[in-house]
C-alpha cells in the first residue's frame, strides 16, 4: 500500500527545485551492521540454501565507504539440535559458505562475536507464495521512453496472514501484505527505469514475517525512497533484530532473516 502513496509526494516536489548542499552533520560511535538475508527453495526436492552474512560498520553519513569489521566470527545454531555451523569468511566481512540445510518450523540463531561482544538474532524459516507469471507489458506510469512495465502475477498462501518481499534487482524492493488480497492471486505492474532489450530481469518473491516487513519498509523509506519533501515521514533510526547480549546499549544495526523464495527470470524485449 504505502509505496503507491509516494506518487502523491512527487507532485509538489516536482514543482520544486532540488540542489545538493553542504551541511555539517553530527556523528556517532561506530556500530556493527549485520546484513543477513538467507534464502531457501525446495527446488523439486533438491533443497537449496543461498545467501550471505555481510558484516560492516557504520560510518559518518557523508563518508564514501563503510568499514569492514576485522576478526569477527559468525555461526548459525540449530536451536532444536544444538548443532553449530561455523560460517566461513570468503572476503573481508562476507560469510557465504557453511549454511546448514534449513527446515521449516525450526528456530535458528545467528551468533556473531566481534570485539569480545556477542550478538544474537533468532529466526524461523518463513514460507512464501508462488510466482505464477512475470511478463513484459507495454504500459507506463510517467514516461514511456524510460519505463518498462513488468506484469507480475502471484498467488497468496491461503488461510494465513502473509507478508512478502519482492526483490526486482538493481536494489529495487517492494514490501506487500495480503490484507487486501487474502487467498487470492494478485496482479500488479512494476515499472523499471532504464532497462534495455536483452537485459535480464529477475523477480524474487520472499516470504517474510511482519517484523521484517516493517523493517524493510522503514529501511526503504529512510534510504531516500520516500522522495523527501515536507510530506516525508519523520526520520527515525531503523532497528532490526540483532541483539548485543554483552552490552545492550551498544546496539547493532541490520537484520537476520530466513525466507523461502520463488524466482522468475525475464529477458527484456
Amino acid at each position: 500500500m504505502k509505496k503507491y502513496y509516494l506518487f502523491l509526494i512527487i507532485l509538489p516536489v516536482a514543482l520544486a527545485c532540488e540542489e545538493a548542499i553542504d551541511v555539517e552533520l553530527p556523528t556517532s560511535d561506530s556500530r556493527l551492521v549485520v546484513d543477513a538475508l538467507i534464502g531457501y527453495n525446495e527446488n523439486n526436492d533438491d533443497p537449496i540454501t543461498i545467501g550471505q552474512v555481510k558484516l560492516t560498520l557504520t560510518a559518518p553519513f557523508l563518508a564514501e565507504q563503510v568499514p569492514v569489521p576485522e576478526n569477527a566470527s559468525v555461526q548459525i545454531i540449530d536451536n532444536t539440535s544444538g548443532e553449530i555451523f561455523e560460517l566461513v569468511e570468503q572476503e573481508p566481512g562476507i560469510f557465504i559458505d557453511g549454511f546448514p540445510n534449513l527446515e521449516f518450523n525450526k528456530s535458528y540463531n545467528l551468533r556473531i562475536v566481534y570485539n569480545d561482544e556477542i550478538y544474537i538474532a533468532t529466526e524461523e524459516l518463513v514460507r512464501t507464495g508462488t510466482l505464477i507469471s512475470v511478463e513484459q507489458g507495454d504500459g507506463f506510469l510517467f514516461d514511456e521512453q524510460i519505463e518498462t512495465e513488468v506484469k507480475v502475477n502471484f498467488s497468496d498462501i491461503v488461510n494465513e496472514r502473509n507478508y512478502y518481499l519482492f526483490s526486482f534487482g538493481f536494489d529495487n524492493y517492494l514490501v506487500t501484505d495480503d490484507e487486501f488480497y487474502q487467498d487470492s492471486n494478485l496482479n500488479f505492474s512494476y515499472y523499471y527505469e532504464n532497462v534495455d532489450p536483452g537485459d535480464l530481469i529477475s523477480v524474487t518473491l520472499l516470504g517474510i514475517d511482519k517484523e521484517f516487513a516493517d523493517y524493510v519498509d522503514q529501511t526503504l523509506s529512510q534510504s531516500g525512497d520516500g522522495g523527501g519533501g515536507p510530506f516525508s515521514t519523520v526520520p527515525a533510526t531503523v532497528r532490526g533484530n540483532i541483539m548485543n547480549v554483552s552490552d545492550p546499549e551498544n546496539i547493532a544495526f541490520g537484520y537476520f532473516s530466513i525466507s523461502e523464495f520463488d524466482i522468475a527470470v525475464l529477458t527484456v524485449e
Binding site: 540542489e19 553519513f61 506510469l141 490484507e179 487486501f180 516525508s232 531503523v238 532497528r239
Partner: protein, 799 residues
C-alpha cells in the same frame, strides 16, 4: 476548581442584577450595507454620553439596554460614513442602520476606525483579525489572494513553508486548529497540498483567528479557532465579481431573488488543468476547484434563514493509472430568531464531509476514506444591559470516521473488497459565557463549557494483553506493536468510552486610561479528535481518529497576559502578549510508525504531553497613506513522551525508555523567532503598493548521525529527535495594485495586481533529505526548495 468557578459566576451575576434601579430601555436592530443589504459584523455602536457601546454580532445584530435618557448614537465602520443620530430613549426601540460606503477618492478618506485594530477595553485578547480587503492586497505566490497565508503575517502564526498544509498557532499542531466556515467544521484547509487555502476571498465577509482567550462557545480544538463567515449576497441588485490569475480564475455572482428579502450568492474558483502539465506528458491532470453558495432570506424583522454550501475538490491524475481526489463538502441551514429585542438566537444544522479517494489502476484498486459529521448548534445571545451580555448554547456533533474502504477497480484485479473498521463518536457540549463590565475600567468575560465525548461501538475492536497495544522491548530498547489477543464486536449501540470535561474560560481587561490597558486570560479546552500525521506537515491522506479506549482526549491549559496601548491618538497601536500553554495527552508515534491504512493505530502511538510559551509583539500603524505592521514572536514549543510505568513481565520489571529517552524535544513547529513586516502605501487613487518581509527560525529537523548498508541500500540513522534545524526561512514580497482611471463614474470596476514573490530569490529549504546519488554513488544532502522568485499578474473585476 469548577465548583469555585460556578460560585464566582453566581456572585457576579447577583452583583450585576443589584445595580438595576433606573428604568431601562433597549435599542436593537440590524446593521447592513446600504448598497447590498449585506449584514455587517463588528460595526461599532457608541453612546457618546455614557462612553459605552457595543458591536454587531456575526449576523449583524446589536442590542443595547440603557437607562432612560437622551443620547447621541454613533454608528461607525472603517470605510463607511459614520451615522450620527440623536436618540430619545423612553421606550424600547428598533433601529436598522444602513451604512454607506465612503467615496472612493482617497483624499476624502480619513481612515480612523479599523476592525483590525485592537479594542483596548474589551477583554477579548489574542485575536488576529484581518479584513478581506487587506488579504486581497497582501502579495502572495502566483497572485492568488489567500486567507491562511495572510494570517501568517500576524504574530503567533507560522507554517512549515510554501507547500505545506495547515498552519501552527502558538506552537500548536495543525490539527489543533478549529476551522469554521459559516459555523461548519472544515477538516482540510488546503488545495494542492498547501499551495492555496480552500477559502475564496470573494465569498468571505469576516475572518477572525482566536489564539487564546477562546470564548466558551467554541470547543473541540486546543490551539486556535479560525472563524470565517461567508457573505450573504446582495439583495438589492445583481453583482458580479471575478478575477483572472496565473493559477486560477474566480467568478462570483450575487443578487436578489426577492428584492430586499431574499438574496443568493454563488461563487466558483478553478485552477487551470495544465498546472503540472509541463512536468510530465499530456495525459496528466492536476487541478482544484471550489464552489461557494448561499441563499439568505429575511422572513420578517425577527426571523432570517440562511442556506449555505461549500464544495471543493482537488484532482490529480497521471495517465489514468493513478487518480487522486480529495476535498471538503459542507452544507448548512441556519435560522436567526429574535425572541425579544434582547435575546438573539441562532440555530444551525450542519453537515460536513471530508473525502479522500484514490484509484490505482496498475495495482487494480480504489480507495475511499473520509470523515462525516452532523452538527447541531443552538446559540443564544442575551443582551441584558450595556454592561452585561450572556451567551449560552448547546452543540452536538455526530461523527462517522471511514479510515478506508478498498475495492477492486476492474474484473481481473486480485484485490478483495474490504472495509477498514468504521468508527463512530458523538460530541456534545453546553456552554455559558458572560461578558460583563464590572466598573468603567474593568471588563470580564467568563464562561464554562461542559463537553462530553462518547466513542460508540464499532464492528471490530482489538483486545490486548494487559490492555497494552504497544510493547516495550527491554532488550532492543525499542517499542513494538503488540499482537491482539482477541477481536470483539461491540455493536453500534454500545459505548466504548466516555470522556467528560469542564472547560472554564476567563478573560479580563483592565483599562488604565484611554491609552493603556492590561488583559489576562485563562482557557481550558478539550480536543477529542486527533489527526494521525507522522510527517513534517499534514497531508491530505492523514486520517482523523477519535478518542477512545486507547486514545485520551487532549487537554489544554493556556494562560495569557497582555499589554495594549494606543499611541498618538490611535495612529499607532501596540499589542504585547505573553502566553504559556500546557497540553496533556498529546500523542506521539513510536519510531517507524506506519500510519497509512493502519487499522490498529493504537499499536503505534504513545501518550505524551506538549507545552509552548512565548512573547508576541505587534506594532501597527492604523492611519494615513502608509499603514502596516511589525509582528515579532519569540517562542518555544516542545513535547515529551516519558516511558510508562514499569510493568512486571515474567518477574522482570521493564523500565521503559519513552520516546527520546523521555526528554523534552522541539516540536516540528518550534520557531524561536518569527518576524513579519507588512506595509501598504496608497500613492494616489490609481496606485497602491504593498510589501511584506518574513523571517522565521528554521524548523527543527533530523540530520543523520551516520549511515549503514543493508541489501545494497544506504540507510541513514539518527540521534535524538529534532535536534537540528533547517536553515532560517526568509523572503521579501512586493505587489502593486493599479486601478484604471476610467473606473471612476462607471459601474464596471477593475484592477490589476502585479506581484513578485520572493524578490531576492531566496532558496528556502522546505526540507533537507539525505540519500545516495544514483549516478555517483556518493551520499548527499539534498535541499528541496519550493519557490524561488515568482512574478505574477492578476486581473480583478466587479460590475
Amino acid at each position: 476548581m469548577p465548583n469555585n468557578f460556578n460560585a464566582l459566576l453566581i456572585v457576579l451575576l447577583l452583583f450585576s442584577s443589584s445595580i438595576y434601579s433606573q428604568q431601562r430601555y433597549t435599542i436593537s436592530g440590524t446593521i447592513s450595507e446600504a448598497a447590498s443589504n449585506e449584514t455587517m459584523i463588528g460595526v461599532t455602536i457608541a453612546i457618546t454620553e455614557l462612553r459605552t457601546g457595543t458591536t454587531t454580532n456575526e449576523y449583524g445584530f446589536y442590542s443595547l439596554t440603557l437607562p432612560q435618557g437622551e443620547y447621541e448614537l454613533v454608528v461607525s465602520y472603517l470605510g463607511y460614513g459614520d451615522i450620527k443620530q440623536t436618540l430619545v430613549l423612553n421606550a424600547d426601540k428598533k433601529f436598522n442602520f444602513k451604512m454607506i460606503e465612503e467615496a472612493e477618492a482617497l483624499d476624502e478618506i480619513i481612515l480612523t476606525e479599523d476592525i483590525e485594530r485592537v479594542d483596548i477595553r474589551k477583554p477579548q485578547m489574542s485575536v488576529n483579525a484581518l479584513k478581506v480587503q487587506t488579504i486581497k492586497k497582501i502579495p502572495v505566490v502566483l497572485g492568488e489572494a489567500d486567507v491562511i497565508k495572510s494570517l501568517l503575517l500576524l504574530p503567533g502564526v507560522t507554517s512549515a513553508g510554501e507547500a505545506s498544509s495547515g498552519f501552527n498557532v502558538r506552537g500548536g499542531a495543525a490539527d489543533q486548529n478549529l476551522i469554521l466556515l459559516d459555523e461548519a467544521i472544515i477538516f482540510n484547509s488546503s488545495h494542492l497540498f498547501g499551495f492555496f487555502s480552500v477559502f475564496n476571498p470573494d465569498a468571505i465577509k469576516d475572518i477572525k483567528l482566536f489564539k487564546g482567550g477562546i470564548p466558551a462557545r467554541y470547543g473541540g480544538r486546543v490551539s486556535s479557532v479560525l472563524e470565517i463567515f461567508q457573505r450573504e449576497g446582495n439583495s438589492k441588485e445583481t453583482k458580479v465579481t471575478g478575477g483572472i490569475g496565473a493559477v486560477a480564475s474566480r467568478l462570483l455572482i450575487e443578487g436578489p431573488i426577492t428584492k430586499d428579502k431574499t438574496a443568493f450568492l454563488a461563487g466558483g474558483r478553478a485552477s487551470y488543468a495544465h498546472l503540472f502539465l509541463p512536468l510530465f506528458d499530456v495525459n496528466n491532470k492536476a487541478y482544484f476547484y471550489d464552489v461557494n453558495t448561499k441563499i439568505s432570506h429575511k422572513i420578517n424583522d425577527n426571523n432570517s434563514i440562511f442556506l449555505s454550501g461549500y464544495f471543493g475538490r482537488d484532482l490529480f491524475s497521471i495517465n489514468d493509472s493513478f487518480v487522486n481526489v480529495y476535498g471538503n463538502a459542507v452544507g448548512n441551514f441556519r435560522w436567526n430568531h429574535l425572541f425579544s429585542d434582547k435575546l438573539f438566537s441562532n440555530l444551525s444544522l450542519i453537515y460536513s464531509d471530508y473525502f479522500y479517494g484514490l484509484e490505482l489502476d496498475f495495482v487494480g484498486f480504489e480507495w475511499d476514506s473520509g470523515i462525516q459529521n452532523f452538527n447541531f448548534k443552538y446559540d443564544l445571545k442575551h443582551y441584558i444591559n450595556d454592561g452585561l451580555q450572556i451567551n449560552y448554547g448547546l452543540n452536538n456533533i455526530y461523527y462517522v470516521f471511514n479510515p478506508g474502504k478498498i475495492k477492486p477497480n476492474r474484473d481481473d484485479s486480485g484485490i478483495i473488497e474490504d472495509q477498514l473498521t468504521k468508527k463512530y463518536a458523538n460530541e456534545a457540549a453546553a456552554y455559558i459565557d458572560v461578558e460583563q463590565k464590572i466598573t468603567d475600567n474593568l471588563s470580564v468575560n467568563y464562561g464554562l463549557r461542559a463537553s462530553m465525548f462518547n466513542r460508540l461501538g464499532q464492528d471490530e475492536l482489538f483486545v490486548y494483553e494487559n490492555n497494552q497495544p504497544v510493547l516495550f522491548d527491554p532488550f532492543q530498547l525499542i517499542y513494538r506493536e503488540a499482537t491482539p489477543i482477541d477481536t470483539i464486536n461491540p455493536g453500534r449501540g454500545t459505548n466504548l468510552s466516555t470522556f467528560t470535561n469542564l472547560e472554564p474560560r476567563v478573560s479580563m481587561a483592565y483599562t488604565i486610561n484611554d491609552k493603556n490597558s492590561i488583559k489576562a486570560s485563562y482557557t481550558r479546552l478539550a480536543q477529542y479528535l486527533h489527526l494521525l500525521s507522522n510527517t513534517s506537515s499534514p497531508t491530505p491522506l492523514d486520517v482523523w481518529a477519535p478518542s477512545g479506549p486507547f486514545i485520551e482526549p487532549q487537554l489544554l491549559d493556556q494562560y495569557a497576559l497582555g499589554y495594549f496601548r494606543n499611541i498618538n491618538d490611535g495612529e499607532y497601536s501596540l499589542e504585547m502578549e505573553g502566553f504559556y500553554k500546557d497540553i496533556q495527552n498529546r500523542i506521539d508515534y513510536i519510531d517507524g510508525a506506519d500510519l497509512i491504512a493502519n487499522d490498529a493505530i493504537e499499536q503505534v502511538i504513545l501518550n505524551g504531553e506538549a507545552r509552548a510559551y512565548g512573547l508576541e509583539f505587534l506594532l501597527r500603524k492604523n492611519e494615513g497613506r502608509f499603514q502596516g505592521w511589525l509582528a515579532y514572536t519569540l517562542s518555544k514549543s516542545e513535547q515529551r513522551t516519558p516511558g510508562r510505568d514499569p510493568v512486571v513481565d515474567n518477574g522482570r520489571s521493564n523500565l521503559e525508555s519513552g520516546i527520546n529517552f523521555g526528554e523534552w524535544y522541539n516540536t516540528p513547529y518550534d520557531k524561536t523567532h518569527d518576524i513579519a513586516l507588512y506595509g501598504n502605501y496608497e500613492l494616489n487613487d490609481r496606485w497602491s503598493f504593498n510589501s511584506n518581509f518574513i523571517f522565521q527560525t528554521g524548523q527543527p529537523t533530523n540530520y543523520p548521525v551516520g549511515q549503514f548498508e543493508f541489501q545494497g541500500l544506504v540507510v541513514p540513522f539518527f540521534g535524538l529527535r529534532n535536534q537540528t534545524r533547517l536553515p532560517n526561512y526568509h523572503r521579501l514580497d512586493i505587489a502593486a495594485t493599479f486601478q484604471p482611471k476610467k473606473n471612476k463614474n462607471r459601474n464596471f470596476q477593475s484592477e490589476w495586481i502585479f506581484s513578485i514573490y520572493n524578490v531576492y530569490n531566496r532558496m528556502n529549504a522546505a526540507s533537507i533529505n539525505f540519500r545516495q546519488n544514483q549516478d555517483t554513488g556518493r551520499n548527499e544532502a539534498i535541499r528541496t526548495s519550493i519557490f524561488g522568485v515568482v512574478p505574477s499578474l492578476t486581473y480583478n473585476f466587479k460590475f
